[in-house]
């Protein structure tokens, strides 16, 4: 397997075996960008600069129809990428993120690390100032948003040096974003969302109110969507220590419905407040996730 094979579309666990986070992120980004014909985040991070005469091959969507109406001549709009867009990636490092439902899959943490690295690289290549906050029940690591050289390395260090977390409280991290992003920016929250939904939504709504574009990536292991296991088993929450004895086969349907209700609740609440929400399975190729963000 080589990076020429579009590693962004391969199974994440197979891709992870190819190398470290940096290499994987670069491979994913290369593959992802080669499949695109335009900047993935154009529209919220670029600004109009001037008109020029239309030439065959230009995309019709950039035609300035008003100029055509006034002067009866074809002009296309020229854009200049904004260099001072600020983006913050919020990465959940809680203990629940270290879980995986099968040994052949990545843990949610490993998946989130690679996804955050790829996302950060894409943003930096667009010359967006990109930062990172890792958190569990408190903020653990903060990399302020920068666009200068070396920022990619700093981001990687922050991602790789993710501490072994405890519980999950996202509000503090979300609040800290407001101090780091003075101007309108992009906030990407990568988490399994095993937290207090109402409190988190309050903080997300606040960010949205400040004009930030907010994206929520809800990470789930496939084993969290469909309950399975021995005939009778005691499930224990690694964060709270709470345990429960159940017969998975008896409860599978009700569990599946409960998970679906939770996802629907997140999706509805986010849509209501203009927040982009995506549920992401840890066996989903990185490229497909990035495409959903584009």
């Amino acid at each position: 397997m080589t990076f020429r094979e579009r590693v962004d579309l391969l199974d994440p666990a197979e891709v992870a075996r190819l190398g470290g986070i940096e290499i994987i992120a670069q491979g994913v980004v290369e593959g992802f960008l080669s499949g695109l014909h335009r900047s993935p985040f154009r529209g919220f991070s670029v600004e109009f600069t001037e008109h020029r005469a239309y030439q065959p091959g230009d995309e019709p969507r950039y035609l300035d129809w008003r100029m055509l109406a006034r002067s009866d001549r074809l002009f296309v709009k020229q854009f200049e990428e904004e260099t001072n867009l600020r983006a913050m990636i919020l990465l959940d490092a809680s203990r629940s993120m270290s879980w995986r439902g099968a040994p052949e899959r990545l843990t949610k943490r490993e998946y989130a690390q690679r996804l955050a690295a790829a996302l950060g690289l894409i943003l930096l290549r667009q010359r967006d100032a990109t930062g990172l906050i890792t958190f569990d029940d408190a903020v653990r690591e903060v990399v302020p948003p920068r666009v200068k050289s070396g920022q990619w390395r700093r981001l990687l260090r922050g991602i790789v040096a993710l501490p072994e977390g405890r519980g999950t409280v996202a509000e503090a991290a979300l609040r800290q974003v407001t101090s780091l992003l003075v101007r309108r920016g992009l906030v990407v929250l990568i988490s399994d969302l095993l937290l207090d939904r109402n409190l988190a939504l309050v903080a997300l709504r606040f960010l949205r109110h400040r004009g930030h574009q907010v994206v929520v990536l809800h990470l789930m292991d496939p084993a969290e969507r469909a309950l399975a296991g021995p005939p009778e088993v005691r499930f224990r929450d690694p964060e709270s220590g709470e345990s429960l004895v159940v017969r998975p086969r008896e409860l599978a349907r009700a569990y599946r419905e409960a998970v679906q209700r939770e996802i629907s609740a997140w999706r509805a609440a986010c849509r209501r407040h203009g927040i982009a929400y995506h549920d992401v399975m840890t066996d989903e190729p990185f490229g497909r996730v990035l495409r959903r963000l584009a």
Binding site: R95, S96, W99, D192, L194, E224, L227, G229, P230, E232, V233, R234, F235, R236, D237, P238, E239, S240, E242, S243, L244, V245, V246, R249, E250, L251, A252, R253, A254, Y255, E257, A258, V259, R261, E262
Partner: protein, 557 residues
């Protein structure tokens, strides 16, 4: 419902296993980390009621499955009337009451024929696997195959005897109760006379069922219940069910009417014999015919003889002297003469009744005289006190006696403590005790005078009393050489004349029997006729329960 393998029902205890497992099973399940436990909590909260119902349903299904499997293993048999049904191997005793009363005509049909038809209907349903017995009025328990017993039933006729139903059912129940067959039944085919159930109760072994054919209403019936000669006349008793009006009783001797009288039920009539010559005579006492002909006739036998001449020696004692005087005044004996009977402590030349001498020192003399007469018996040493058995003086105490020693056991008339007390032979009767109250209480007993009468008129002659027995009406004579020495008169049991059937309650109490009417008797035999083995149905039900359990355990997830 009955079971072919009842011991398998012990397995019903296994029905408690699912509940006990549910209550006491305490497994430690494996522990697994699972972060989204909040979803589990919600799922369980929403499913709690459904899961409880499902667990209850599973518990019920599993318990029912075990119960049904155990029942199927026990091979239950339920009553069935379809043609394909069969009965399990059965030990069945058929009591066919062919006593005299079964000859009664009821509703235009002889009762015995009705009973035989019911017996055939039962035997026709028997299989080679059944064990069968037939009990008739003689009380003998006959074992045999279906065809063999059917032939016996066909050849049965009403007899003069009587069937003790309680005893017959008891005996039959013991026989079938000892058989290892699955079903054990006693079928009672009888007219169920009230008199046949008056005494005793049946004791049934476990698992034995008694079925009785219901009785039909009995017609009024009267019969000659007794007839004997007394003081020159025939005394006859009329018995049976009470009925209005009197019936004529006729005495015939040698096909000639000797006398006639009218009698009602329960009455006794006396018909004088008139002048009649010496010898043995047979009289025929009859009633007008009614529904039961068997008890309308009874024979009577007597021996007409001239009174014996009796000589009482002073050594015989005052009691004997007084008794002979009484007999003489009644014409039963005549004054003593040389050819008569001598009563004393030495045998004379003719017939004699020899008593032990008052002085024991004279025993040797008496014994020598007896030996000289060729008598095979002699007086021995003193014997132990006891009670007399035989000679019509049963139970009379004897306080003193001499043993009688001899070898002709056929000559023994009475015994005390199993040893001869009165013997007869060659015209001589030896008594072990003097007829004195210091030797025996007999002289003070009412039977004393008849005893002396029998001594001088019958025992000395070697004659026995006319005996009566139950059986077909007839007379048999006993002879010694050319002499007739006794007779037995057979006649019906007087209780057979009362045809009144027992109440169903009495039948149930006395026989522990289910009473079934004619039309249903064959159906009710063999534990309610035919029974179907429903173990196959139960296995099918078990399969359905297992499928239901499987569905509840899997599809509802």
């Amino acid at each position: 419902m009955i079971f072919l393998h009842p011991l398998a029902l012990l397995g019903l205890a296994a029905a408690a296993i699912p509940a006990l497992l549910h209550l006491f099973q305490r497994r430690t399940p494996p522990e697994i980390e699972f972060p989204p436990i909040r979803y589990l909590n919600e799922a369980e909260r929403r499913s709690a009621r459904r899961l409880r119902l499902r667990h209850l349903l599973l518990l019920l299904l599993r318990t029912a499955l075990i119960v049904v499997l155990v029942l199927a293993a026990a091979r239950p048999l339920v009553p069935a009337r379809h043609a394909g049904a069969s009965h399990p191997p059965t030990a069945l005793a058929l009591i066919l009451d062919n006593s005299l009363s079964s000859g009664a005509v009821v509703g235009g049909q002889v009762t015995l024929e009705r009973l035989k038809a019911a017996a055939r209907s039962v035997l026709d349903r028997a299989t080679p696997a059944d064990r069968l017995w037939l009990v008739l009025a003689d009380g003998i328990i006959r074992s045999g195959g279906r065809d063999e017993l059917r032939g016996a039933v066909d050849s049965v006729s009403a007899e003069g005897g009587r069937l003790d139903l309680v005893a017959a059912v008891n005996a039959a129940a013991v026989v079938v109760g000892a058989d290892p067959a699955v079903l054990r039944e006693v079928e009672v085919l009888s007219d169920l006379q009230r008199t046949a159930l008056a005494v005793g109760r049946v004791t049934l072994p476990p698992g034995v069922r008694v079925l009785a054919l219901g009785a039909h209403p009995a017609p009024p019936n009267r019969g000659i219940t007794a007839a004997r000669v007394s003081a020159g006349a025939v005394v006859a008793s009329v018995g049976g069910a009470p009925a209005a009006g009197a019936v004529p009783v006729t005495l015939r001797v040698h096909d000639h009417d000797v006398g006639r009288a009218l009698a009602v039920t329960g009455a006794t009539v006396t018909i004088p014999l008139g002048a009649i010559g010496p010898g043995w005579w047979v009289g025929d006492v009859t009633l007008a015919p009614d529904e039961l002909r068997g008890d309308d006739r009874r024979l009577v036998v007597w021996h007409a003889t001239p009174p014996a001449g009796v000589l009482v020696t002073p050594e015989a004692g005052s009691f004997v002297t007084a008794a002979v005087e009484v007999l003489r005044s009644a014409g039963r004996v005549a004054a003593g003469s040389g050819s008569g009977v001598t009563i004393g402590d030495l045998p004379g030349a003719g017939s004699a009744v020899v008593l032990p001498p008052a002085d024991p020192a004279s025993l040797g003399q008496v014994n020598r005289a007896l030996a000289a007469r060729g008598v095979a018996w002699r007086f021995g040493p003193s014997g132990t006190p006891g009670l007399v058995t035989g000679a019509g003086v049963d139970g009379v105490p004897v306080s003193r006696r001499q043993r009688l020693e001899g070898s002709d056991t056929g000559a023994v008339l009475a015994t005390v403590n199993g040893e001869p007390w009165a013997v007869a032979g060659k015209g001589i009767v030896l008594l072990g005790s003097r007829l004195d109250t210091s030797w025996t209480a007999l002289p003070a007993a009412p039977a004393f005078v008849p005893f002396v009468d029998a001594l001088v008129n019958r025992f000395v002659r070697g004659e026995a009393a006319v005996e009566e027995a139950v059986g077909a009406v007839r007379v048999t004579f006993r002879t010694v050489g050319a002499d007739t020495v006794g007779a037995t008169v057979y006649g019906p049991d007087p209780r057979e004349s009362d045809l009144t059937p027992a109440e169903p309650r009495l039948i149930r109490q006395a026989l522990h029997a289910e009473v079934v009417e004619d039309g249903e008797f064959g159906q009710a035999a063999f534990a309610g006729l035919h029974r179907a083995d429903i173990s196959g149905v139960l296995l099918g039900l078990a399969l359905l329960l297992a499928l239901g359990e499987l569905a509840a355990a899997t599809l509802a997830r």
